[in-house]
Symmetry: C2
Subunit: 249 residues, 2 copies
Amino acid sequence: MAQMNNVTPLFKDMAKLEHDHRVACQECSLYRLCLPLGLHNKDLAQLDKIIKRSQSHKRGEALFTTEHAFKSLYVVRSGSFKTTISATNGREQVTGFYFPGEFIGLDALYQESYQSNAQALETSSVCELPFDSLQELGKDMPQLQVQLLSRLSKELSGDKSLMLLLGKKTADEKLATFLLSFSKRFSDRGFSATEFHLTMSRGDIANHLGLAVETVSRVFSRFQEEGLITILGKGIVLRDIAKIKGLCG
Amino acid sequence: MAQMNNVTPLFKDMAKLEHDHRVACQECSLYRLCLPLGLHNKDLAQLDKIIKRSQSHKRGEALFTTEHAFKSLYVVRSGSFKTTISATNGREQVTGFYFPGEFIGLDALYQESYQSNAQALETSSVCELPFDSLQELGKDMPQLQVQLLSRLSKELSGDKSLMLLLGKKTADEKLATFLLSFSKRFSDRGFSATEFHLTMSRGDIANHLGLAVETVSRVFSRFQEEGLITILGKGIVLRDIAKIKGLCG
DNA sequence: CGCGCGTTTGACATGACTCAAATGCTGTGG
DNA sequence: CCACAGCATTTGAGTCATGTCAAACGCGCG
C-alpha cells in the first residue's frame, strides 16, 4: 500500500485543463463536449459574449447553495464538483459529480431556484451562463435551445440509470459501475481510461452510491486483492476492465 | 379488510378524465398543469395543430419501449403510466409513475432514442407531440421552449429527490414519502388528497422504491395498525397526514 | 364458479450498517 | 523543513433492517 497523491506523473487530472480565463469557446479544448457544439461561428461569438469566466474555486468552496438566488447555469471548465441535496433531518445525498464540459444547476430552471448545493472537489473553474441572457439568446438561436434540451435530457437519462443502481444493485455492482462511469468520462476528455484520480473522498463516493464508507473501503480492498484494480490513495488503476464490466450487473 | 376496486364512489380516479379525443388544449381541464401554460392564444392554436390525440391504451399496453424508434414525446391525458429501465441481467427498475398533464419520454431527446419503456397502468390516453414538429414550432415560439426546459428541469428535480429516497431513507420513510407525493399529485389535479386509488401493483411500488414486495405489504399493514392509513385493496385513505409527514425523514 | 396471480403473513438468512480502534495522510504552524 | 493535530481511510467484530423463501389467502378475470 504505497502512498502518493498529487505529484505523480502517472495520474493526470482535470484540474490542469484551462485555468486561463481568456480562452474563448472557439479555442476551448472542451468544445466537442460542451454547449456550443453545433453552433455556427456567428452564434458562437454571441454565446461567447454572455459567458462569464469566473475566478477559480478552491476545494470545498461552494459554487452555489439552495440559499443563493438563482441566476446562472454553470459549465465546469477545469477540476470537478459535487452536488448534494439534504433531507429535512440533515441527511445529505450526493446527487452527482461533475467534470469539465458538464452542466451544473439544470434542476434550478423549474422554479428558478437552486434545488441543490454545488461544491468544488479541488481547485476548479467554471463558465457562468447567466440564465436571462441565455434565454434572450435562445430566442434567435434555436440550435442553442436544442443543445440545452439535449443536456437536460442527458442528465435525466443518467439519473434514471443511477436509480437502477441505487435501487437494484449490490455493493460490488455499484462500485464496478461507478469505476467504469468514471473511466468513460475521463477517456471522453482525453485522459487515461485506466488510470485516474478520484477527487472526491470515500465518504462522497459511499454517499453517492447509497453505501457506508466502510463498505466502499472494503470492496475496493477486495477488488484489489482480486487483481481488478490497484489503489494508490486517491489514485486508481483499472487492471481488468473486462472483468469489472462483468460485475456491473 | 374489505374488498373493492373499481365501482366505489369513495375513490375517484384519473382514468375518467377526458377520453374525448377532440378536446383542444384551450378547453382541456389539464390546461394549468400542461405544456401550453403561458402560451398566447395564437401560439396555442398552433401547438394544438401538431398534437395527435391517440386512441386509448389498455392496461399493460406499451406506449413505447427502447426498441421503438423515437418520434414523439407524450403527455398523459387520462389514466396513468409507469416507466422502466432494465439492467443487462434482466433486473428492472421502475423509474417513474406518470399522471395526467405529465410528460413521458423526456430522457429520449438526447440521442433521439427511447431510454426507457412506458406502459399503461390502467386504460389511459395520451397527447402525442411529434418531436420534429415541436422543434419546428419552438423556433418561432420561445415561450414553448421555456416550457419544455421547465418540464425537463422539474423531472430532473424530482429524480434527485428520488435519489435521496433510494440512497438514504428507510422502508418506512420511503413509503411515507411515496404516499405524500401521490397525495399532492392527486390534489393538484383536483382529486382528493386523502383518498385515492393506487393504479400500480405492490410489486411496482416496491420496485420503484427499492424495496421487496413483502416489505411494502408489511409497512402498509403496520401503518394501518397505527391508524395512519386505511387500506382497501388498491384504495388508500390517508388518516393522519401530519404524522405521515413526520415519517418522511 | 374456479383458476391464477397479486397480496399478505410468518420464519429465517444475510448483506450491509454500526460501532470501535488502528493506521495513514494532509495541511498547518512553528 | 519538520512535527504535530486532525481528518480520512482501513480493518475487524457484531447487529439489524430488509431481503429471501414458503405458504395461505382472497380478489379479479375468464
